[in-house]
């Protein structure tokens, strides 16, 4: 597009009032829909400079960093907000899992409600730890949870647990 005469002096920030939070969230959501995670982090930071404890902005920042594969950064953001009453335990456990800090990750999941996302992550951690029998048990609990392609991991855990002979029967009873 050809540049129009309308100029937007982006550099002079002090002379302008900060944009309204709802405008920032509109921009933030657009970046998320377009998978522009780096931009999303920047806008989330803008929200946080106005409202330092905004839960949605914090969550968006953490998730955008994870989706952008910046696991270390995501984890340090989670740490920096640990005093706020915002539950980022699952995200923290996932980051620890990605850093291969498997025992810490399991520890982090302990005490959480055992919903399907928690069980999924727990099973993946157990698999990496080589605790394949325990892993199989967790996937059995997920059998009726309707999670797409979870049976792929279930089969992997059975094979790794030396229970390849059970795969066919297990797949029949899946769902």
């Amino acid at each position: 597009m050809a540049p129009k005469s309308k100029e937007k002096p982006k550099t002079s920030s002090s002379s302008h009032p900060p944009p309204a939070i709802e405008d920032l969230f509109t921009t933030l959501d657009r970046h998320i829909q377009r998978s522009e995670y780096e931009q999303a982090v920047k806008v989330a930071d803008q929200v946080l400079s106005i409202a330092p404890a905004d839960e949605d902005a914090i969550r968006c920042k953490v998730v955008a960093l994870v989706k952008d594969d910046k696991i270390d950064d995501a984890l340090s953001v989670i740490q920096s907000f640990h005093k706020l009453p915002i539950d980022l335990g699952f995200q923290k456990a996932y980051c620890l899992y990605r850093q291969n800090k498997l025992d810490e990750a399991l520890q982090c999941l302990r005490g959480r409600e055992r919903d399907s996302e928690t069980l999924l992550l727990e099973a993946q951690i157990l698999y990496r730890l080589g605790k394949t029998d325990a892993c199989v048990d967790v996937y059995r609990k997920l059998q009726n949870s309707d999670i797409e392609t979870a049976e792929v991991n279930f089969v992997a855990s059975l094979v790794s647990a030396g229970k390849a002979s059970q795969v066919e029967k297990a797949l029949d009873s899946w769902k």
Binding site: A20, I21, E22, D23, F25, T26, L28, D29, I32, E55, D56, R59, C60, V63, A64, V66, K67, F90, Q91, Y94, Y97, E117, L120, L121, Q124, Y127, I147, T149, A150, V152, N153, V155, A156, V159, S160
Partner: protein
């Protein structure tokens, strides 16, 4: 010589399904409202 090829078992595929559980919050309520009257006429 050379020795014949042999098949070896490979590690089974494991998907990172927990990754899909990491999701953004819904921001609809936080965004700029667009003409509430019009919207509610559509869905009201």
């Amino acid at each position: 010589f050379p020795p014949a090829f042999q098949s070896i078992p490979r590690n089974p595929i494991v998907l990172d399904l927990a990754y899909n559980c990491i999701d953004f919050p819904v921001l609809d309520e936080r965004k700029k409202k667009v003409q509430r009257g019009f919207i509610s006429r559509l869905w009201g």
